[in-house]
């Protein structure tokens, strides 16, 4: 059974929840246009949204001239006028500018009461979106935001690393501690590289409980619905790496703390993933996606395929397999007996060659946004591959990708792999649009996954080139080759193939980071909805 909200927060939320659940869920009609574009508006400062504060830096040239809300209203109107149909926004729940709870302090008077001002701002935000004609949002929360309260604990011995004292830092909404992972003191999940990390990492004494991670999603979804806005996606985690940090599986199933945070230790657990699904789905129909993203590193040498992994995938998708394994309550981590570096039987010492954004529907598994290019051992920057190498690698990767999903997905016909949307004019370069090549060379059907099945899950969603802040706007960042930087979405495969099903383009980088002039936020090149 799904893990419903219980106890403490329930006492405060239940009256609202029952009311909420009495409303009929609805589904936003699919757009008639075959393409949609979502803009990432970055972090929203809810704490000042309804105040007269006029120093919001997100207003760019209007900085210190208009209140925060006016800034957003102007932005929304501008984006809507240019055909933007949805926005992604970042938020957190315990930061000074995003204070969903009064203080996020456990067992402190009023500490975890919900901040009414935050809710009011949330309602106004959604109302403004709807008034501007933008009806879809992607919610991207952070549970260990840099602005969240931090609780450093002096170095001590933990069972994960019994011989090494470790100084951990805890966050109120993260079920594990983080340690200084490099000389610069960047905080990484603790421990790294220990398979037993999921079990041996200490519980977070300051953790509010998994329920407190997902309750805000209920209010977000409810208030969005009330305003006529649909939460089409919640990006629950970003690039989880269960291979190196098995403790991150606690973001799916916390094995240390009861959902209400009152009990810790053996026997207490909270299905955070399920709770998140339950928090969003009632208000946004089954089309709402709870997104988990993973990096898919450890690629193989294109000339030495394929490599084996414990999970049965061909190696380059081991991180994806681990995520899927965690979701399926399977084994995570790399067991004893691995034969070579990176847990693979061959190759794979250079990482970050692919980014896989993995999307889950209730029963349909959809994948998008495979950033793929060939890279050889020691080839830092992956610049030595020939077009043939790249193409061969693409064949391997896509085949492996499909096979990996087939291992774990309930129905292979629901798997929708879609490739990156960049650089169709630069086949010999660093980046490569492999799906385009699959189509061009008629290779896809030969992979025993007919095109009609590829599209069976409905919409195709793509993060247009996550690594480049300016690809959607067609701006150069000064380092990328011209064919990459100037083609923008208009030349992306996703855009060009859009018809049935429709395509949603979700550029990752924020609007403000990409546009030449922040006010009035003019898309460049202009977005042109593709006609059939």
């Amino acid at each position: 059974m799904r893990n419903r909200m219980t106890s403490l927060t329930q006492a405060r939320v239940l009256s609202a929840s029952l009311l909420i659940f009495s409303f009929q869920s609805f589904q936003t009609p699919l757009s008639a246009t075959p393409t949609r574009i979502y803009s990432n508006i970055g972090r929203v400062a809810f704490s000042t949204y309804l105040t007269s504060y006029n120093g919001y830096s997100g207003c760019g040239s209007l900085y210190q001239q208009i209140p925060t809300r006016t800034c957003y209203q102007t932005l929304f109107a501008s984006l809507a006028a240019q055909g933007v149909s949805g926005v992604r926004f970042f938020l957190s729940f315990c930061s000074t500018d995003n204070q969903f709870y009064v203080s996020c302090v456990k067992n402190y008077p009023n500490g975890t009461q919900i901040n009414q001002l935050y809710l009011n701002a949330l309602q106004a935000f959604f109302a403004d979106l709807h008034a501007a004609g933008i009806s879809n949002v992607i919610v991207t929360p952070s549970f260990d935001d840099p602005n969240d309260p931090k609780y450093p604990v002096a170095a001590q011995y933990y069972s994960c690393t019994p011989n090494v004292p470790v100084a951990l830092t805890f966050f109120p909404l993260l079920p594990y501690g983080k340690f200084p992972g490099n000389a610069q003191g960047d905080l990484y999940p603790y421990p790294q590289g220990i398979n037993q990390g999921y079990g041996c990492s200490p519980s977070n004494p300051y953790f509010l409980g998994g329920e407190y991670m997902t309750v805000p999603l209920v209010f977000i979804s409810y208030n969005a619905q009330q305003a006529g806005v649909t939460v089409t996606e919640v990006d629950l985690t970003q690039e989880v790496n269960l291979h190196d940090f098995t403790v991150q599986a606690r973001l799916l199933l916390d094995n240390t703390t009861s959902c209400d945070g009152t009990q810790q230790g053996n026997g207490n657990q909270c299905d955070i993933w399920d709770s998140a699904v339950d928090a969003v789905r009632p208000f946004n129909s089954p089309t709402a996606s709870i997104v988990l993203s993973v990096q898919s590193n450890h690629p193989v040498d294109a000339r030495t395929p394929p490599c084996a992994s414990y999970y049965g995938d061909p190696g380059q998708h081991v991180l994806l397999s681990e995520m899927l394994a965690a979701l399926n309550v399977w084994w995570i981590g790399t067991p004893a007996g691995e034969q070579s570096g990176s847990g693979l039987a061959c190759g794979g010492s250079y990482s970050s060659d692919m980014v896989v954004l993995y999307r889950l529907f209730e029963y349909a598994v959809t994948t998008v946004d495979v950033h793929d290019y060939a890279c050889f051992l020691g080839d830092i920057g992956c610049s030595n591959a020939s077009p043939t190498d790249i193409f061969n690698q693409a064949v391997l990767d896509f085949t492996a990708y499909r096979d990996t999903l087939s291992l774990w997905g309930p129905n292979p016909t629901n798997n929708v792999p879609v490739a990156q949307s960049v650089d169709v004019f630069n086949p010999g370069g660093v980046y490569w649009d492999k799906y385009n090549q699959f189509i061009a060379q008629g290779l896809l059907p030969s992979l025993a996954l007919p095109t009609t099945q590829v599209w069976s899950a409905g919409a195709v969603v793509g993060e247009t080139w996550a690594e480049s802040p300016c690809i959607i706007a067609g701006f150069s960042n000064g380092t990328d080759p011209a064919p990459v930087t100037y083609n923008g979405y208009l030349n992306s495969t996703l855009y060009q193939i859009a018809s049935q099903p429709f395509v949603i383009m979700e550029p990752w980088y924020t609007t403000s980071s990409c546009f030449a002039v922040q006010y009035p936020w003019v898309l460049n090149p202009p977005y042109v909805p593709r006609s059939n």
């Binding site: 952070s142 590289g193 690039e239 940090f245 053996n266 087939s406 291992l407």
Partner: protein, 259 residues
């Protein structure tokens, strides 16, 4: 319980893994301090990673000059293992016996990590292995309900109830034959058995489906309950419990199609 005796180097972070001039040696022992031959010893270097590339993301990329390294050593007739040409850095080590009656240290024992300095010769590592009893679980699939997937259709894990649950043994099996899982488990710990299936329901020896906490009544494995891991037909998780004791233990399950 006999404690691991480690000679440890001073913990030093290392961002350079090129040299490979360090070495280690040690032995794997039984609880009676007898050397254990032909035991696999996993040695794995933990590389330093670069910070996450996205705000809120997780590190995944190795730092420049870093390398991931793991190897499986084997003890000789004197129970001794050794490795040379190792880079400086932090290492994880554990031992997996081939002999019956011993517990897999990589699954059940506390984590062991140590650091190596460049050029250091670390000797005297001792890894004890504990005695085990055998849990035998038979899972029959008379109706061939498990799809013949490459990933297998049944996963059986056993986790210690006194830990947070990852110390487990793993077996997989495929349809159609009856599968027997022999898993060494601790003598002194309460364990939880977890059976994950795909496209099937687990029934006990009497043909009764294990559906809820009150449904299971196996003589030797009292029921602890079950939970639905994910909606049909992805799979189901079934839990049962083993109490501490010296004797080997066995249980049988069957699979039936989902309704």
């Amino acid at each position: 319980m006999q404690r691991l005796v480690f000679i440890l180097a001073i913990y030093i972070s290392s961002f350079c893994a090129e040299a490979g001039t360090a070495s280690i040696s040690g032995s794997v022992l039984s609880m009676t301090n007898s050397p254990l031959a032909r035991v696999s010893v996993l040695l794995r270097r933990i590389p330093k990673l670069l910070p996450a590339t996205r705000p809120g993301g997780t590190p995944h990329e190795m730092a420049p000059g870093e390398e991931s390294h793991s190897e499986v050593l084997t003890t000789d007739n004197s129970g001794v293992f050794s490795a040379a040409g190792l880079a400086a850095g932090e290492y994880y080590i554990c031992a997996t016996p081939k002999q019956p009656g011993l517990l897999d240290g990589c699954q059940w024992d506390p984590v062991r990590v140590f650091s190596l300095l460049d050029g250091q010769a670390l000797s005297g590592l001792q890894i004890p292995l504990r005695s085990a009893r055998t849990l035998t679980i038979t899972v029959a699939d008379p109706n061939h309900v498990i799809p013949n997937q490459s990933r297998g259709g049944i996963l059986v894990t056993v986790a210690s109830s006194e830990t947070f649950g990852v110390h487990a043994a793993v077996s997989t099996a495929q349809s159609p034959s009856s599968q027997m899982f022999s898993i060494p488990i601790p003598l002194d710990k309460r364990c939880i058995i977890r059976i994950v299936t795909r496209g099937a329901t687990v029934v006990d020896a009497n043909g009764k489906a294990i559906q809820s906490i009150n449904d299971v009544a196996l003589p030797s494995i009292p029921a602890l309950g079950n939970s639905l891991a994910s909606a049909q037909p992805i799979g189901k998780v079934f839990l049962s419990e083993v109490t501490p004791g010296p004797s080997d233990i066995s249980a049988a399950f069957s699979l039936i199609p989902l309704p």
